[in-house]
Amino acid sequence: MVAGTEVGRTAGVAPLSRNAQAVRLFERPIVLRLVSIGLFAAAWQIAGLIPVSFAFPTFSDTMAAFVRMMADGSMVTAYGSTLQPLILGVVLATFAGVGIGTLCGLWRPGEWLLIPVFIVLQAAPVAAFIPLVTFIYGIGMTAKTLAVIILALPVIVLNTYKAVRNVNGSLLVMSRSFMGTRWQEVFKIILPDASPVIFAGLRLGVAAGFVGVVLAELLITPTGIGDLITFARSRADYAGMYATIASVIALSTVTLVALQWIEVRVFRPEKRGG
C-alpha cells in the first residue's frame, strides 16, 4: 500500500515545528495501519451498540469470545482439523500445478490441450463441485483436501504457464549464442526467470485453498473451523461465530502477507531489470 515518505534532513535545514513533526508521524505506514485498525474496531463497537441487528455483537464481545474459545481449546482443535487438509492440498496443488504449468508453457500440444480447461475452471464457480465432492468422498480429510485442490490448482497452473511463456526472449537468444542446450535453457534461464510469477501464483493458490476448505466445512462436516461457525450460529452464540470468522480471515491475511514478504525479499522485483 501507500508508504509514507520521509523527507531527508539536509544539512542546514532548521528542525521541524511540533505540528509538522506530528504530521510526519502520521505518515509512517505502521501508525496508519494501527489507526485504521482502531477506526475499524471503533466502528464495529458502535455498530454493535446501536445495535445494527440483534445478531450483531460488539467488538469487545467478539474479542472476549475469541479469548474464551482459545482458552477452552475449541478453536485450537478446530484449526488443527482445518489446517491439515489445507496444507496438504496446497502442497499437492503446488507440485502438480507448477509441473503442469511448466509443461504447457514449453510444449505446444500440452498447452493446446490443457490450458483451455484450466481457463474455464478459473473463471467458473467450481465451488459448485464441493457438495458433490463431499457426497462422494464423505466428510473426512479426503473431501476437504480435494476441495482445496480443485480451487487452488487452476490459478497455480495458469500463473506458471503464463510465466514460462513470457520468459525474456533476449536471454533465450543469448543462451543459444553460447550454444546452450534446451535443458540448460529450461533450468538456467526459463525457471529462474519465471519464478517470481510462479510464486505469486502460489500465493493466490493459498488464498483459494482457504476458500475451499472453509466452504467444504461450512457445507457438510462436523469438524473444523467451518463447523465451529455453524455450531456457534445454531446456539445463537453470535460473538463466538464472529470471533471464529474474524480469526479465519486474520489467519488467511497473515499467511498471504507473509508469502508476499517472501516474494519481495527472495524474488526481488528490482532484480528483474537486467
Binding site: M1, V2, L32, R33, V35, S36, I37, L39, F40, V52, S53, A55, F56, R108, P109, E111, W112, L113, L114, I115, P116, V117, V120, A123, A124, P125, A127, A128, F129, I130, P131, L132, F135, I136, L204, A207, F210, V211, V214, L215, L218, L219, I225, G226, I229, T230, R233, Y238, M241, Y242, I245, V248, I249, S252, T253, L256
Partner: protein, 250 residues
C-alpha cells in the same frame, strides 16, 4: 497449435475433451460422468422445467442487483482512494484484506443479518464482487498521467468535468478489467451464497442433484452456469478491446 498445417484455435481443444467425456460416459467408467450426450439432453429438458426457469430468474435477479450495487459503490470508492491520499491510507488495507480473504466465511453472517432469502444472496454477490472493482478502479485512477490532469486544470475544467471527461475515461481500461473480474467473482458469490442458503435458486438445485446423484442434471446445470460466466466475461472483454487502442499510450 497447428495440425496438418491448419491453425487450430486453443478453445477447440475443449471439443476434444467433450468427445473424451462422451467416450468415458459410454464406457461407464465413472458413475459421476454420464455420457456427454446425456448431459446435453438433460440440459435441454432442464431449461423447459418451470422450476429451473424460476430458479434462473431468482439467481439472475440477485446477481444483477448485487453487481449493479457493487459497481455503483465500487467505482466511486476506487476513485476516492485513487485521488485522496487519506482515504487510500485508511481504507486500502481493508480492501486488500477482503479481496483475498475467504469471503465464504462471512456468508453465515449475512445469513443471520439478512435472513434466508434473496437479500442474503444479493449481499453475497456485492461482497464478493466489490473489492476487485475498487482495487482496479483505484489502480486505473492512479495510473493517470499527472500531466493529463494538469492540462485539464490549466484549461479551467471544473471538478465534475475533470472526473467525467478525463478521469473516468483515462481509467476506463482498468475499470472494465475490474468489472470483468468482479463479474466472475460475483458469479462465484451467487453460487456460494445459494449453496450455503440452500433453499433458493441454483444452489438449491445443485444441492438436490448432488444429494440424489442425478449426475446428468448436475452437469447440465454446471455447464449452463459455467457457460454463463464465460459468456459474460467474454462480453466485457469485447468492451475492453474497444478501449484498448488508447490504453497503451496514456
Amino acid at each position: 497449435m497447428t495440425l496438418f498445417g491448419y491453425r487450430v484455435p486453443m478453445m477447440a481443444s475443449l471439443l476434444v475433451w467433450c468427445v473424451l467425456w462422451e467416450i468415458v460416459g459410454r464406457l461407464d467408467l465413472m458413475f459421476i460422468l454420464p455420457p456427454f450426450s446425456d448431459v446435453l439432453v438433460a440440459a435441454v429438458d432442464l431449461v423447459q422445467l418451470p422450476s429451473w426457469q424460476g430458479a434462473t430468474v431468482t439467481t439472475l435477479r440477485a446477481f444483477l442487483i448485487g453487481m449493479v450495487l457493487a459497481i455503483c459503490v465500487g467505482i466511486p470508492l476506487g476513485m476516492l482512494m485513487g485521488r485522496v491520499k487519506i482515504a487510500d491510507d485508511l481504507l486500502g488495507m481493508w480492501v486488500n484484506i477482503f479481496s483475498s480473504a475467504p469471503l465464504s466465511a462471512i456468508v453465515p453472517v449475512l445469513m443471520i443479518l439478512f435472513g434466508f432469502g434473496e437479500k442474503t444472496i444479493i449481499a453475497a454477490v456485492f461482497l464478493f464482487a466489490i473489492w476487485i472493482i475498487v482495487l482496479d478502479t483505484r489502480a486505473g485512477v492512479r495510473h493517470i498521467s499527472p500531466s493529463l490532469i494538469e492540462m485539464a486544470r490549466s484549461y479551467g475544467a471544473p471538478r465534475w468535468a475533470l472526473y467525467g471527461k478525463i478521469i473516468v475515461w483515462a481509467a476506463l481500461p482498468e475499470i472494465l478489467a475490474g468489472i470483468r473480474l468482479g463479474l466472475i467473482r460475483g458469479v462465484k458469490g451467487v453460487v456460494i451464497g445459494q449453496l450455503l442458503v440452500a433453499i433458493v435458486g441454483y444452489g438449491a438445485l445443485f444441492e438436490t442433484f448432488s444429494r440424489n446423484f442425478r449426475m446428468s442434471q448436475f452437469w447440465a446445470l454446471t455447464i449452463i452456469l459455467f457457460a454463463f460466466a464465460l459468456v459474460v466475461s467474454a462480453l466485457i472483454e469485447r468492451a475492453e478491446a474497444k478501449v484498448e487502442f488508447y490504453a497503451g499510450v496514456r
